[in-house]
């Protein structure tokens, strides 16, 4: 589905402050069907207790679930009736609540991310769910469930122009946005092959099956064995046959996982399009449900370019970016903020995208990559050596001398450390700082100097032995488990110099986000 961009007056790239027309506070409501979607959302939360009450309730009053649904419906309708929003000159005002009333002003300038999501049901009704997110916080500033699709897009455009344009005014057609990246079906299939989303589905299915019928997996194995070896030898399975069955089952599960991953990738990423319109980036994707989220270019914080083993085999990379709003992780909806600039693209396309989106003087492709401390391989090896030793000790305690076999892990980790140290590099110029790491699975992590928030130099006992230090650079919106922006194992003098230099640069530049 291509978004039929409703026409509106062109405000120019820098929305100049319009003369104070002070529009009358004309309240708007959500879509008349919005109560239905609120109800569905609430039902989804209560679905398990409701079903349980329906089936397990048995001899008790079967009306309980119905009463529950009725109460939820009533509250949804009340929510619809009390929810109003008004668009002011530079802020959007939202009033909601019936007994407990709430009024919230969200200045357009504070909105970092706008997302417009449509599930299949939303598309049937021609509506969409809009979320306005500011920096930080766990919940979106405003969650409008639901608006008519063109209203939603108008609201998004309004935020883009910082409210300088009245949404309802029909005028000159906007210039078509520049398409920065599109993913044809072939790319989406590649993404499916690389991604491991299928694992999540299978793991969830496994957990659910253990919950409802613990014997299902064992039964499946038995059944599989029979399918593989036929019904004849039903009663005489030797260890050999069990082994074969296990291997084939594992292969089948792996194939199923890949297939699931591909299906999920097609569902989520079909029609992926990254566009740029007046300094604002918009990502649209999805086959059945469409997700659309947009963020201003200057709100991009730190970047991650990733190349795993499968990526390399297919000659692709993926490019992610942190936005300050992307910290918010609702239950299973963490992907709503714009995060993936290129879920998968050729290395050249990724580089071109980075060059285009970073400031012109960042000089991404001409960076001077510097090595870490000469002994960093030894440091990496020793830093991780305690783990095999602990495992060995534990195994020896359990199994005696056989546990010493685990020591074979040490040469392997030494080999890994050697390669990791060889690949690790960092680069810094007047505009950006970048770190490269990994060997099998490589990553580049970088940020504009303006986007750094705090600096830390750390130096542990092992580091001190060889005169090393690690520099941590903190940016907004970094995911807690993600790759940190850190320059590991630098010579200490170099690290100190870098720390002082960065502190000086940051102090001189104002925070822009």
């Amino acid at each position: 589905m291509t978004p039929s961009e409703p026409v509106g007056p062109d405000a120019g790239p820098q929305a100049d402050p319009v003369p104070a027309t002070s529009p009358a506070p004309n309240d708007r409501r959500l879509h008349p069907w919005s109560w239905l979607f609120v109800l569905l959302q609430q039902l989804r939360q209560f679905i398990v207790p409701l079903i349980a009450a329906f089936f397990v309730g048995g001899d008790r009053n079967e009306l309980w679930p119905l009463i529950g649904v009725a109460v939820l419906t009533l509250s949804s309708v009340m929510q619809y009736l009390t929810y109003r929003y008004a668009i002011g000159r530079d802020a959007i005002t939202i009033r909601s609540g019936w007994l407990h009333r709430q009024r919230r002003e969200i200045p357009f300038a504070r909105i970092h991310n706008v997302s417009v999501d449509q599930t299949v049901l939303h598309r049937l009704f021609g509506v969409a769910e809009v979320r306005l997110e500011s920096a930080g916080g766990q919940k979106p500033e405003a969650q409008m469930r639901v608006l008519r699709m063109d209203d939603a897009l108008a609201l998004e455009r309004l935020v883009r122009h910082r409210g300088a344009v009245e949404a309802t005014v029909e005028g000159v057609a906007e210039p078509a946005p520049d398409v920065l990246l599109e993913m044809p079906l072939g790319e989406v299939l590649r993404l499916g092959i690389i991604s491991n989303r299928g694992v999540l589905v299978l793991a969830t299915a496994y957990a659910a099956s253990m919950q409802f019928s613990p014997r299902l997996v064992g039964g499946l194995f038995e059944h599989w064995s029979r399918v593989v070896f036929g019904w004849t030898s039903e009663h005489h399975f030797g260890p050999m046959q069990y082994g074969l069955a296990a291997v084939t089952l594992a292969l089948a599960v792996l194939a199923l996982m890949r297939l699931l991953s591909i299906v999920l990738a097609v569902l989520q990423y079909a029609g992926f399009r990254l566009t740029e319109d007046q300094q604002r980036l918009t990502v649209e994707r999805g086959l059945l449900g469409r997700a659309r989220s947009s963020v201003s270019r200057r709100r991009l914080q730190a970047w991650t370019l990733h190349e795993g083993l499968l990526h390399r085999l297919l000659k692709r990379r993926s490019l992610h970016v942190d936005t300050a709003a992307s910290v918010s992780q609702g239950n299973g909806q963490q992907r709503r903020a714009l995060r993936e600039l290129a879920p998968i693209a050729t290395p050249d396309a990724c580089d071109a995208l980075i060059e285009h989106l970073l400031p012109p003087d960042a000089n991404w492709s001409g960076l001077d990559w510097l090595p870490m401390h000469p002994s960093s391989a030894l440091r990496i090896f020793l830093g991780g050596a305690w783990f095999p030793l602990v495992v060995t000790a534990a195994l020896c305690w359990q199994f005696g001398a056989y546990g010493l076999l685990a020591l074979l892990w040490l040469p392997w980790s030494a080999y890994l450390a050697h390669h990791h140290a060889k690949c690790a590099r960092y680069a810094i110029n007047d505009r950006i700082v970048a770190v490269r790491g990994g060997w099998w699975s490589r990553h580049w992590r970088f940020a504009e100097l303006d986007k750094l928030q705090a600096l830390r130099l750390s130096c542990g006992p092992l580091d001190r032995r060889w005169g090393m230090a690690t520099l941590w650079l903190d940016t907004a919106g970094a995911t807690p488990g993600g790759t940190p922006l850190r320059i590991p194992h630098l010579p200490e003098a170099e690290a100190r110099e870098l720390l002082d230099r960065l502190a000086r640069i940051l102090a001189a530049r104002k925070l822009r986000w």
Partner: protein, 165 residues
Amino acid sequence: MTDAATFPLDAPADWQPLPPRARSLFMLGHAASGLVLAGPALAFAFSTHWVSPLVAPVVAGILGAVLGAWIGAKRFRSTAWRLDDEGFAFRRGRLFFKETRVPASRVQHLDLRHGPLERRWKLATLVIHTAGSKMSAVSVTGLDADDAERLRDRLARQLDADDAL
């Protein structure tokens, strides 16, 4: 254990130590967390029957507290802060050395906290919030209460200056 020579104080006058009163606070705080050792000792005593479950936690708790107080005293000695035109700097630890810099232009807001013991000794904890993620709150315990207020006012003034632009 290395001494200060490993980390040449790049302008000794600049780095401010904590007031001597904070030493007791550090020792008490770390001693309290050392008491936690009593828990595993109790579990150990119950599972092995080598020592009486009455003796083990007491001994482990005392040992933990003494160890904690010792670490607290060391950590007190290694903690220092500095405020200059570039912003706030804070260093801590010898064995595990850490130096954190918060440029003045990156300060979002500031908290000043006074616990009951801190109030008694005229101390304060300053928490500097930034927009970052891992270091979104840099907290400095055991500052002199007046120093902490001065620090807060200095950093907050910078904040106002930035917003006015």
